[in-house]
Each structure stands twice: as structure tokens, then as C-alpha cells.
Amino acid sequence: MLKFIVKRILTMIPVMLGVSLLVFVILEMAPGDAAESILGEYADEQNLEALRDEMGLNDPLLVQWGRYVSDIVLKGDLGTSYKTGMSVTQSIFERYPTTMLMAFLGVIVTALLGITTGIISAVKQYSIWDNLATVFGMIGVSMPSFFSGLVLVFIFAQKLQWLPASGNYGWSYYILPVLTISLTSCATQMRMTRSSMLEVMRQDYIRTARAKGQTERKIILHHQLRNALISIITVIGTQAGILLGGTMIVEQIFAIPGVGKLLMDSISYRDYPMVRGGVLLLALSFSIVNLLVDLVYAAVDPRIRSQFSSGQKRRNTLRGKERSV
């Protein structure tokens, strides 16, 4: 198992290097360069050229990228913001906890609400609860966060005045944003849980368990849920990615000072070191979530666990992933 973890972490390194290069190339396509954003539109060509030389912007892209990566690895330095002149690393890490807390709470709410409603509606298939949950699930999936967020603000902050609409000065400020980001994923989670529970329900071992007189509760929790868990966890993993990507929108709506808001502000100022650092950090967080998901797979499914200790582990984990996609 330890060997698997180490190996899995090692495979993350080339991927993250690739991500940093990709982000580098993407932002290279942007109009204007660093010198122009620092000196402004009307700077004369001589000064621009001098600054470009000083910043190494005239070097080939790969050289610039190599310098960027080595700075990150050796000094933990993500560069300096064009706008504030502050260290990107520091600015981003100041805001990182807020974003992570929100994404984390989002995942928790998604998992708790989504899985429970999914189980209930699968167990009581075709009942009124199931129909209600299915319709709500469908509506939830079809409701983008920037619309549901505004609807929640309108109802709870402006009409009922129960909760604050924007800012970040305490726990009550987290309720609406977390609800907003988890609504869509909750619906997805519910639908996935329901369908995988139903799929498992028709298996022979469930009939066997019932035939030997097992209590319904035990059948549901121990036999059905356990076997449905793999696909449920997969959804949590993908949803975590969506939550991390969605923080940009939610932080914008609720004016929460997190990495997403910082990214959007930096984009409008063309502060590319900040954009680069933010994207990189969010991508890294996403990769770590995927790593955790892979580990949890192994924890819940002894079949996967045993593959890690036997010979052909990698191919089988990949196959396991494809099956669930």
C-alpha cells in the first residue's frame, strides 16, 4: 500500500510540471507582456526593451518556464505581482484557507445530503419521496451556480434578511456560498447514488442476504451501500474539481476574498504571475483530491486493495477508473 502511495505521488510530479508549462503557454498567448503591464500603455519602446531584458522576457519560452519552475521548487517563489509588487506566494496563501474551507464544506454538504437522499430514493423506489427527489435532482443539475446563488441571495438575504449577502466576517457568511456551490453537486451526487444503489440492488448477493434473513437495514448499509460506494466516491472526486473551479463564480457573487476572487481580479488587471500561481495552486489541490480519492477507493474496496499488492496494479486501477467514468 505504501508503495502505491509513493508511486502515485511520483506520477503527480510530471503532471504538475506539464500543468505549469500549459498555464505558461496559455498565458503567453495573451496580448501585451509583463513590461507593458508594469510600465503602462504609453511607455516608450526603449524603456520597455530594457525592462524586458531585465526580467528575462526576451529569453525563449522554455528557458523562462525552467526559471519559473526552479524558483518554485527551490525557493517556493511563484513570482511577484505586476500590480501590487507583492510576492504571489504570500498573496495566494493568505486567501487559500478561505477557498479551501468553502470547498471542503461544499464537499461535506454534498456528500451528506446527496448520499442520504440518494439512498432513501433508491430504497423507496417509485414512492412519492423518490419522485420528489428525482425531480429536485433534475432541477438541481440544471441550475447553474451563478443563478442559484443569486436566487438564494434574493430569498434569504434580501427578502427574508436571515443571512448576509456578501463579505466574510464569520460563519454565517459561509452558509449561502456553501449552499450555492453544493446545490448542483448535491443533485449529481443524489442521482449517482440512487442509480448505483439500484444497480447493486438487483445483484444475486443481495437476494442471498435477504434469503438468509438479514435485516433490511444491514442489507442496505452493509451490502448495498458498500458496493455502491466506488461510484459514489468517484462522483465526490469529480465534484471536488467542479467545486474548486466553481469557487471563482461563487466568490465573485458573494464577494468572498478567496483565491477565486483574487484570480478574477488579477485577470482583469492582466496580472499574469498571480493568475499563473492561482491556477497552479488550484490544479495542485485538485490533483491532491484525486490522489485521496484513489486512496479511498483502495480503503473501501478490498479488490482494488489486493491489486496494489499483486503484480498488475496500475493497469487494474486504470480499468477501475474507466469503469466508473
Partner: protein
């Protein structure tokens, strides 16, 4: 043709799917014939009639510049649906080509292409789309490009799976034995055989593409005002939410109806084309 009739019969079995198919058809027709249906132009301003609540003359009210929201929703829907449909078709086509080439050649080619895709997939799709849109600049074409690029890796992976098992089929081997050019094998023998999952993927991803486009516009990175687009309209209405909520609710509900019907139809198409997943 029997295949299609079979598919159609199965699709029509579910009443909700039929209802949503009709709903979606109506929405599409309204959007396509916006020129005839919309009571006003998308940028017709009447300063004397600003912020009006929904009434007989203005079905969804007017916005802060005195423009008819209903007309703007129709024209905006044209934009959203167009970009969404083009983007998801393009994504699926390119993704399928990459995925099948990768799986067909296998070995090193497959390894390199898929590791490349892994890099793209390590960035959450919305974040990738935002980064691309930020670099390319705003505008309809760039927005579409951002959505397409961020969606390709997932599609490539989905297409790769079935091709891996097709590759060793006898008829592919036969085609190879008579010296059929590789690109012809992929286009004539492999792609048609993964058509069903591809169609399912396209229908399922249209709603996702619409959401992404609207999300980018909402953040100010996509379609720019004064052009009507649902996400941009939501963003513009945000500051008037408290007093004139219809500026947000009307385009939002239009989007909700579209996405809802699309999602239900997408599920229906999946169930009808893929009997394995059917109860």
C-alpha cells in the same frame, strides 16, 4: 432505418422525455424565429420605460436601460444555444478523433497522447476555460474555443475505452489485412461503431457547454454586453436584484428550462441508445 425507428420508439416510452423534447423543440423554435416572435429588438431602448415590472406589453419587464427583457432572452438564447451546440459537437468530434487515434495505435502513441490529456485534466475544466478565455480575450469565437479546449480531454478518454476493445476485432484485422489506409480504418470502421456513445455524449454535454459559456459571460470573460447572452444578462441584472428581481429571474428561468429539458432528453437518448444502462 429500423434502427432509428427502434430508437425513437424507446425514446418515446418515457413521458417526461417526450414532454421535455417538445419543450426543447419549442424553445429552439422560439430562439430561431426570434426575429418574428420578439416584440422588440435586442437593443431597442426606451429610456422612459426603464425597470418596468412584467406586464402585458413587456412579458418579462424591462431592464435598467429600458430594453425589453423577453426579446433579449430570445436573442440571448440564440447566442447561448448556438455556442453551446457548436461547442459540444466540436468537442466530441475532436475528442473522439484524438481518443480513437490514441487507442488504435496503442503503445507509445497512446501513452504520450493520454499523458498529455492527463495534464489538461489536472486542471478543473471551468478553471481551464477561464484561463484560456482570459488569455485569448473576450468574444464569441474565443469563448467557444475556451469551452471546446477544456472539454476535449474528457471526450478523448471516453472515446478511447470502446476503441481499445474494437481494435482487436476481426473485421478491423481484415481491413488491415487488405491494406486499408489507417485513416480510412479509423473513419470508416471505428468511428461508426462508437457512434452511439458519441451521440449520447454530445447530447449530454450540450447543457454543460451552455453553462460554461454562460459562466464565462457571467464573469465578464465571454460574450460582452450589449450583446444579449443569458449569463451576461444575469451578471448585468445582479446589481438590481433587490428592487427589480425579474432582471435576474427571467433569463435565469429561461436557462433553467433549457438546461432541464436538455438534461432530460440527454438521459432519454442515453437510455434509448444504450440498452445496457436501461432498467
Amino acid at each position: 432505418m429500423t434502427g432509428f425507428r427502434n430508437f425513437w420508439r424507446r425514446l418515446c416510452k418515457n413521458r417526461l422525455t417526450v414532454f421535455c423534447l417538445i419543450l426543447f423543440a419549442i424553445l429552439v423554435l422560439m430562439v430561431v424565429f426570434a426575429d418574428f416572435i420578439a416584440p422588440y429588438g435586442w437593443d431597442d431602448q426606451d429610456i422612459t420605460r426603464r425597470n418596468l415590472a412584467p406586464c402585458a406589453e413587456h412579458l418579462c419587464g424591462t431592464d435598467n436601460l429600458g430594453r425589453d427583457i423577453f426579446s433579449r432572452i430570445l436573442y440571448g438564447g440564440r447566442m447561448s444555444l448556438q455556442i453551446g451546440i457548436y461547442a459540444s459537437v466540436l468537442t466530441t468530434v475532436i475528442g473522439a478523433l484524438i481518443g480513437s487515434v490514441s487507442a488504435y495505435f496503442g503503445g507509445k502513441v497512446d501513452n504520450i497522447i493520454m499523458r498529455f490529456m492527463d495534464v489538461f485534466m489536472a486542471i478543473p475544466p471551468m478553471l481551464l476555460a477561464i484561463a484560456i478565455a482570459a488569455a485569448l480575450g473576450t468574444g464569441t469565437l474565443n469563448t467557444m474555443l475556451a469551452v471546446v479546449i477544456s472539454g476535449i480531454p474528457m471526450k478523448a478518454r471516453i472515446a478511447r475505452g470502446p476503441v481499445l476493445s474494437l481494435r482487436s476485432q476481426e473485421y478491423i484485422e481484415a481491413a488491415r489485412a487488405v491494406n486499408t489506409p489507417t485513416f480510412k480504418i479509423i473513419l470508416r470502421h471505428i468511428i461508426p461503431n462508437i457512434m452511439a456513445p458519441l451521440i449520447v455524449q454530445t447530447t449530454l454535454s450540450i447543457s454543460g457547454a451552455i453553462v460554461q459559456v454562460a459562466g464565462l459571460s457571467f464573469l465578464g470573460l465571454g460574450v460582452q454586453p450589449p450583446n444579449p447572452e443569458w449569463g451576461a444578462m444575469l451578471s448585468a441584472g445582479r446589481s438590481f436584484l433587490r428592487d427589480f428581481p425579474w432582471m435576474v429571474l427571467a433569463p435565469g428561468v429561461a436557462m433553467l428550462l433549457t438546461l432541464f429539458s436538455l438534461n432530460v432528453v440527454g438521459d432519454g437518448v442515453r437510455d434509448a441508445l444504450d440498452p445496457k444502462l436501461k432498467d
